[in-house]
Symmetry: C2
Subunit: 332 residues, 2 copies
């Protein structure tokens, strides 16, 4: 049996794409003691990947040139040399961009299919959802009645952030680009208001119109000009959750944020975080997410790109805003 | 007896100066029940004053045109119609820019001269010192061993922030403009390192050189380019205390901050605050400040501009960086 892999060929400057990767095939490596051979089913495609492979400074270990691209994924155990895993178990772990990786059992978790399907584990129970949970509730200190603005609202993290805010009795405004995404937010997720930033000549004015009472929590997935517009509309004591800044991924010159003066006068807290810091509390978050998933209060559109060879294209799509919902590569 | 006053004549665009104020004289108003007549000795001159009088949005009530400029001050009771105050008591309260204001007793506090002199109450026990205390300890979550960078380090808040960080066993780097201020920080306060931003062509590079291990807490009194340089040098889990942004006071176009990407990757918290929010804890802060003052671990240079008529010039001086230490107007 072969393991198909996508390797990092070259560090991208700006947006990563197919030219930065190369495919290869090797024979699968039989698991040693404490290892599993896994058939990958879904691979998560996330904005953070860019910092793992780019030439700039990275706050996590970078992927080496010639190595398989790092990624979280879901698959099924084909062969186990770890007593706690059986053939046929569904698991999540560091599959990378590989069809049949051999993984360390102690870095792999069995999926509990009683709380959600395999697709649920790729979406509303996955890492993007955990990011939304800890970002909004811990960093954002969400309170019932808050006015919550979410950018990148149709994306993997954004959709869940919007729905958690709805569950917590907040007034939710989403920002996304294009009619399809905005229609989804309006009609399927039923947000209180939706802003199509691609159709707005002045995003700051559009935010002011959509949030006439100001913003208590801004969940920022994009940075740049939208962040500046949100800062100008913050209420006293507002919290800005710095989750991502995808608008700046391909920027030659980063956008200069002008409205930080709001922090002092309005006692604003603006805070970044990494979901991995909350590792000890993943069970808490999954209890919350699966509870509301079963109750029908949480849903997530998976955007599946079929075929491992298209993983580099899928990654590029993330930065052009091509996906609606949580982006994954599917292997069948 | 007359009350000399300085009234707001016109709202400044940019930096306030003498052209925005006018002097007048009125007969003192005899105190009604619950009031005090006070002879002002020191008036605090603070960066926040600009937001009280400017044309831009303000988060506190603005001073009306034709009214005396608002200010905190220290003086001596000349006449009392409040049982808890006696003639001769030293007090602090909302004197405004007035030589002989009549004040509400319930908005005025008696100074305890057993814990510090009148000058101490104008300086290291005053509002600027409280701002440094709550900013650094509560907002900045200062920990022993932290590497602490303070901008505006020779100013009223900055000097105290530097010394609190020293008391708390931190490594302290100060930024100020010009040889006199930097000499004071180096020789009198004995900071670990001092950066003269006026002598540095590349402030970001100077910060990196002075903080080779990175920064745990950046106490920001200035905003703008220095903030950008500090953001680029933050360590994992750093805190940015957004206390002021005096560099932006006269800016036609606000500086665009480019390095906010550090927030996500390094789990940074950046937070603004107003000292008045901590009103219930002033006693705690004063216990700390007076303890270390008596022990000789805290000092503050008062920069006294003598004469009420020079209050507008003193305010302008604050924005041109003319003061070293806590700026006050003295009335004798």
């Amino acid at each position: 049996m072969n393991n198909h892999r996508i390797l990092l060929k070259e560090r991208p400057i700006g947006i990563p794409g197919p030219e930065h990767f190369t495919a290869d095939v090797e024979a699968v490596r039989p698991p040693a003691a404490g290892e599993l051979l896994v058939a990958t089913r879904y691979i998560s495609i996330d904005p953070a990947m860019r910092s793992w492979i780019g030439a700039g400074p990275s706050y996590v270990r970078q992927v080496e040139i010639g190595q398989p691209m790092r990624a979280g994924g879901i698959g099924q155990v084909l062969e186990s040399r770890a007593p706690e895993f059986a053939v046929g178990d569904w698991v999540q772990g560091r599959t990378g961009w590989q069809s049949h990786p051999t993984l360390r059992a102690d870095q792999t978790q069995k999926l509990d299919l009683s709380v959600g399907t395999v697709e649920d584990w790729a979406g509303p129970l996955g890492t993007s959802a955990l990011t939304a949970y800890f970002g909004l509730r811990d960093v954002g200190a969400l309170r019932p009645g808050d006015i919550v603005l979410v950018s990148g609202a149709a994306g993997g993290v954004g959709q869940i952030a919007c729905q958690i805010a709805q569950i917590e009795a907040c007034h939710v405004i989403g920002i996304a680009g294009g009619a399809e995404k905005c229609g989804y937010l309006r009609d399927a997720l039923k947000l209180d208001a939706v802003i199509d930033y691609k159709a707005e000549p002045d995003i700051a004015a559009a935010i002011r119109r959509a949030c006439p009472g100001g913003i208590d929590v801004y969940f920022d997935n994009v940075g740049g000009e939208i962040l500046d517009g949100a800062l100008a509309a913050l209420r006293m004591g507002a919290r800005v959750v710095s989750c991502g800044r995808i608008s700046q991924a391909g920027a030659v010159e980063p956008y200069g944020v002008r409205n930080l003066g709001a922090l002092g006068g309005k006692r604003v807290r603006m805070q970044g975080f990494l979901v991995f810091d909350y590792h000890d509390r993943y069970a808490e978050a999954r209890a919350y997410l699966s509870h509301h998933l079963r109750a029908g209060r949480l849903r997530q559109k998976l955007h599946v790109v079929e075929g491992l060879d298209l993983a580099p294209q899928a990654l590029a799509m993330l930065f052009s805003g091509g996906n609606t919902g949580k982006l994954v590569v599917g292997l069948s």
